[in-house]
């Protein structure tokens, strides 16, 4: 994991001092609300329905046991004893006091954490594969590049007042687990035929009001050019992105207006001035950063673990969990375990202070003291010995994060919605809960298989509803909360945007609607066919017919 040096520490400490001063000036009336707004946003501070909300950065989802303990402590001291992990691998406090935020930042700084650029119209936290560095299907470890981009983008003087927020994601495995096609910039780290490292560059993906899949503008960008090329894209966006209408201000609108070819030409022209300039990466720098992500001290273990095989045979509950929550590791004898934050009736992505402490203990006991946050809002222990899985599972059960549902219908991605968010059209958390209750039979749930259910409380799409296999969107119908259903989205290699099923539904029928959709799938699927594949084969009509016949 990346460890701060004296430079990083100084920068974060100076930020705490700066924000303390800004808060002070605001409270003294020297800064207007409008002037304070971008300052606090660039520090992750929103003013929400009930209280400010503070978003703390977890760069590319990597967090240590020590940092997790600090998050727990802060939640007790300054908040209500829980936190919310977001779809951008960050963590949020829902109830801090504005005047206490500088103190919270000072606490965070003691464990090398901050809230820099977690909001506002600037370059945000770069996100990646939660299995980076350990996945069996990995081609290139994306984390060094995430860190290189983190440093380059932190307090970038030219790009702090962009037309709109800017999100970069990197994936380095065969399977895209970072949803790179729906980011402002998506990077696929890869090697070319000569064995050189580089990136396939996509631009203009995004969700929100105008969802779009990103377009490729470069099929192989050599590693050393990463920052100069990003700088060229950002400069073109900063100069030509729309500023007259915030709903048309994302880079995707510019890419669409110009067309991919014209956009690429502008970037290339800009890049000619920057290419091979001082921001060109050096081998020494890539090596220096990569050293922070070297493999931990793995034990020499057999590929097949007899202890694990026995445990799996003896305990069907453990087997359920193993099937869903454990992923193949690149090192023999190890496994990746996901701790589910999707227990029924727990807000998706929420974790109590006790759970945080427990997760920290488990990480120290079983996984070299590190944890990852996934964009599906779960926690990951990336380096667990297979013969420890059974003990880990029992411990996870005690703390309520052993729900065996990773990748299943109840592993819902969900935004805070109307319970917390001032922009919401409708509540989202109660929908998630009602559906989780409906599908609480594990055998049934496992039989349905891989299925992403994503819920957003409004068209800003913080819950990624466009790319859920089933997406739910809260809408406002004459002041009442209604829900629109979309089918067929995907955030993976086969990325696609969902199609609207038809007129929206009242809250209380939503579990029935989802049940009808699942029934159609089960009736039509061929053996082993996943929901998304059945949907793509039979189309939306059979779902429409059934849902509107039974729920009207």
């Amino acid at each position: 994991m990346y460890k701060y040096d004296a430079y990083d520490k100084t920068i974060v400490a100076e930020r705490v001092a700066q924000f303390r001063d800004q808060t002070q000036r605001y409270l003294e009336g020297k800064l207007t609300d409008a002037e304070f707004l971008p300052l606090r946003l660039q520090n992750g501070l929103y003013i929400q329905r009930f209280a400010p909300m503070l978003r703390v950065a977890i760069p590319y989802g990597m967090v240590s046991a020590k940092q997790i303990r600090k998050l727990a402590e802060i939640s007790r001291q300054f908040d209500k004893g829980y936190v919310h992990f977001s779809t951008r691998q960050n963590v949020q406090y829902n109830w801090p006091k504005l005047e206490k935020v500088p103190d919270i930042l000072a606490e965070l700084a003691t464990v090398e954490m901050h809230a820099i650029q977690t909001s506002g119209n600037c370059i945000r936290n770069t996100t990646t594969d939660q299995f980076a560095g350990v996945a069996a299907d990995e081609l290139v470890d994306p984390r060094p590049y995430c860190e290189i981009i983190r440093q380059w983008s932190t307090f970038h003087p030219e790009f702090a007042y962009l037309p709109r927020k800017f999100k970069i994601a990197i994936n380095g495995a065969k399977q895209d687990r970072a949803a790179v096609q729906v980011h402002d910039i998506g990077l696929h780290a890869q090697q070319n035929d000569q064995g050189e490292l580089g990136f396939r560059v996509l631009v203009g993906g995004g969700l929100g009001r105008t969802p779009m899949i990103g377009t490729e503008i470069c099929d192989f960008l050599p590693e050393r050019h990463l920052l100069t090329y990003l700088e060229a894209i950002l400069r073109v966006y900063n100069r030509y992105g729309r500023r007259d209408n915030k709903y048309k201000a994302r880079i995707k609108i510019l890419v669409k207006a110009l067309g991919a070819d014209a956009f690429r030409a502008k970037v290339e022209a800009e890049w000619q001035h920057l290419k091979d300039g001082p921001q060109t990466l050096t081998e020494a720098e890539v090596t220096r950063i990569s050293q922070h992500f070297s493999s931990p001290d793995y034990a020499d273990l057999p590929v097949e673990n007899t202890q694990l095989q026995q445990d799996l045979q003896q305990d069907p509950n453990f087997r359920h969990w193993y099937e869903r929550n454990v992923t193949a590791h690149k090192v023999p004898g190890y496994a990746i375990a996901t701790l589910s934050l999707k227990a029924t009736a727990q807000a998706p992505g929420d974790a109590s202070d006790q759970q945080l402490e427990a997760a920290a203990d488990l990480a120290e006991q079983f996984s070299f003291g590190e944890i990852r946050v996934s964009h599906q809002q779960n926690l990951v222990l990336a380096d667990v010995q297979q013969d420890h899985l059974y003990t880990l599972w029992q411990e996870a059960l005690r703390f309520g994060f052993a729900t065996p549902n990773i990748g299943l219908l109840t592993d819902v991605i969900c935004c805070p919605g109307g319970d917390f968010c001032a922009l919401a059209n409708a509540k989202s958390l109660p929908i998630a809960e009602a559906i989780q209750r409906r599908f609480d039979d594990l055998d049934y749930l496992h039989d349905i298989g891989d299925l992403d259910l994503n819920i957003s409380g409004c068209m800003n799409a913080c819950g990624h509803h466009h790319v859920g296999h089933i997406g739910i969107l809260g809408v406002d119908k004459k002041g009442a909360e209604f829900y629109q259903v979309q089918l067929g989205g995907s955030a993976y290699n086969d990325a696609s945007l969902g199609k609207i099923l038809g007129p929206s539904f009242a809250r209380d029928v939503m579990p029935d609607v989802i049940t009808s959709i699942i029934d159609v799938y089960l009736a039509h699927r061929t053996s082993e066919e996943l929901f998304i594949d059945t949907y793509r084969r039979i189309g939306i009509q059979p779902f429409k017919d059934r849902v509107y016949a039974s729920n009207n």
Binding site: L39, N121, W152, F155, E158, A160, R235
Partner: protein, 164 residues
Amino acid sequence: MPVIIKNQKVISDTYTFYSSYTSGDVLAERSIIPIDDFLANPTQFEQHSGSLGVWLDSHHEPEVLSSYIHQLAVIAINFPSFTDGRGYSIARVLRERLGYQGELRAVGDILHDQLFYLKRCGFDAFKLHAEKDPEEALRGLNAFSISYQGASDHPQPLFRRRLH
């Protein structure tokens, strides 16, 4: 007397700022005129005995000044709103691409907390709105002692400058 921040100090502003200029008008000794009025007939200013500058808005393309860079004593960039970040890119293009070395002045809606970024992008003079306290704003110039990325002030990024 109006003031500006320049070279980390508050000093009096000796330039007259024209929001528009009509050909034939007599210019003050030290003048800053709109870019469009300048470009309409650049040769007419060759006889001007004092110092001449132009100001541009955030939608202007700095590239159009490339042939006049060395005859301008001041280039001012207007920030119509402090959230409009185009001026930061314009400044870098002027300094780093077009090689402009005269005074680069940020005018309009600029705030204390932006001075550090503005300075990094190549601005060396700042004219805040009259109701803002320039002495207090001076503190904003040096909010950070270290930066990761290169920019106009220090083209080399930290990774090329670090000692270890």
